[in-house]
Amino acid sequence: MAELDAELHVQHLSHSFGPHEILRDISFNLKEGHVISVVGPSGGGKTTLLHLCAGFLDVEEGKVTNTFNKHAFAFQETRLLPWQTTLDNIAFGLKAQGMRKQQRYHLATEIALRFGLEKKDLSKFPKDLSGGMRQRVSFARALVIEPQLLFLDEPFSALDIGLKQELQQILIQLISDGRLTVFFITHDLMEAVRLSDQIIVLDVDPGRVAHTFTIEKPQQERDDAYVYAETAKLLANPVIIKTFELSIASSRNKPDKGAAA
């Protein structure tokens, strides 16, 4: 098997919607067990980049090589099936794999409870869930199939700080166990610092790599103080200030807020 050197390799990727150039010459290499985050202003083409990597959009220019066996996706707009209950939505990927009903419900229930959903939420339809709950359902649906590669498009944007940290912790655990590779999009610089090995800053119009930051320290050893300090450093970085068009006021090294979010 090619287990050892599975990777998501993006080379000179460009993309346009009609006349609008969205992405220009993006290259990076996501190796197994690593986490790459993409941060950038809204409308900069992050979701587009993710969709190209996952194969939802046809690659027009450049090359995307994905040698992971199994990948899963948590969408920015969750994309739950409105006519299925929480439980069925979470179990969707398992059903697609042909798992028996009893077992997939068992696994889905387990992960739902771990993600802070309650028993009574399991039989609800998406319309009766809060935005944050829907995000957790979508995230659970992606994680429950135990993917090798996880595409996350702002999966925590509607969650409170506590829940966010809890789910981040779950991710960090899986990453440290070497079971997961993550391609992650976020608006929240602090989240990026906490989770990633590499942070790609995407400039806007057209989207291109403005800068890549690398963080060597293993995720598990990053405590809050470290994350705050690193985020503060990032916020003071000229590249970040320029891409996010931060005003002087917000670049006073106040790391308790995400950058553009």
Binding site: A72, R79, W83, K95, R141
Partner: protein, 260 residues
């Protein structure tokens, strides 16, 4: 099957919630009684005499036969329009040209008064089942067709991408993603078509056949038997209420509970 169980389980609760409807029906009957006292037996027979006529009517064989014939015709018309409309509508929804081309035809079908169809049908089919069923189909088919067309037309790529990302097999994509969406459009159309079938069938019978509730209605008219006419109307309304509230509504509640 789970859905079926749920429907049955919730049925008593649902029935209990029907008291409001019952009281509004009683209110209506009260008004009717007032009308009778105002205008007299010939114009508006009292509820009492109407129900009495109805009671004796229900005990004659011929009326049961008429009801049977009418129900049969309405059902055939409904089944044909539901089947044909669903199939062709879904097909048309898949192709842009087909949906554009079908638009004016549907407008014509919907806009043409059923009474005109009856005349044509009588010329084509004579007087009998076919004329009635044809008229019912022409009136109900476009409703189902439009519903089905919109159902497939509005299928979203987003959910398809989602199911592809989990490598859902084709059958599962159909049962879990496409079908529920399309069905949520087709089902209300079926209900509307069923109501339409029931109305049209009586009208067509009144004008074109020697049997069925519509024909019986024509007889009461020629005898100036207002109580008899009202009794027949009561039978028709009874059927409509029965189908609508005992059959369709519980199913609708079950299959549409995911909607806001």
């Amino acid at each position: 099957m789970n859905a079926l169980l749920n429907i049955i389980k919730n049925f008593p609760k649902y029935l209990w919630s029907g008291w409001g409807a019952v009281s509004s029906i009683f209110l209506f009957i009260t008004l009717w009684e007032f009308g009778f006292q105002q205008y007299g037996e010939l114009v508006l027979p009292s509820p009492q005499s109407t129900f009495h006529t109805l009671w004796t009517m229900l005990h004659t064989d011929s009326i049961m036969q008429d009801v049977h014939i009418t129900v049969k015709r309405a059902m055939w018309g409904f089944i044909i329009s539901a089947g044909l409309g669903s199939f062709l509508g879904m097909l048309a929804g898949l192709f842009v040209t087909a949906s554009i081309m079908s638009r004016p035809i549907i407008t014509i079908l919907m806009g043409m008064p059923p009474i005109a169809w009856i005349v044509l049908a009588m010329i084509w089919f004579g007087t009998g089942d076919n004329t009635v069923i044809f008229t019912v189909v022409v009136a109900s088919f476009p409703i189902v067709f439009v519903g089905a067309l919109q159902g497939t037309h509005t299928l979203e790529g987003d959910l398809k991408d989602m199911s592809d990302s989990f490598k859902a097999p084709l059958l599962m994509k159909f049962t879990d993603v496409y079908f529920p969406h399309i069905f949520s459009y087709i089902f209300p159309a079926w209900i509307a078509a069923l109501g339409m079938s029931w109305k049209i069938v009586v009208m067509a019978e009144l004008l074109s056949t020697p049997d069925g509730i519509g024909a019986a209605l024509a007889v009461t008219r020629s005898h100036l038997d207002t109580a008899g006419a009202l009794a027949l109307v009561t039978i028709m309304i009874g059927f409509l209420l029965f189908i609508e509230y005992v059959f369709m509504e519980p199913i609708k509640r079950e299959v549409e509970q995911w909607r806001n």
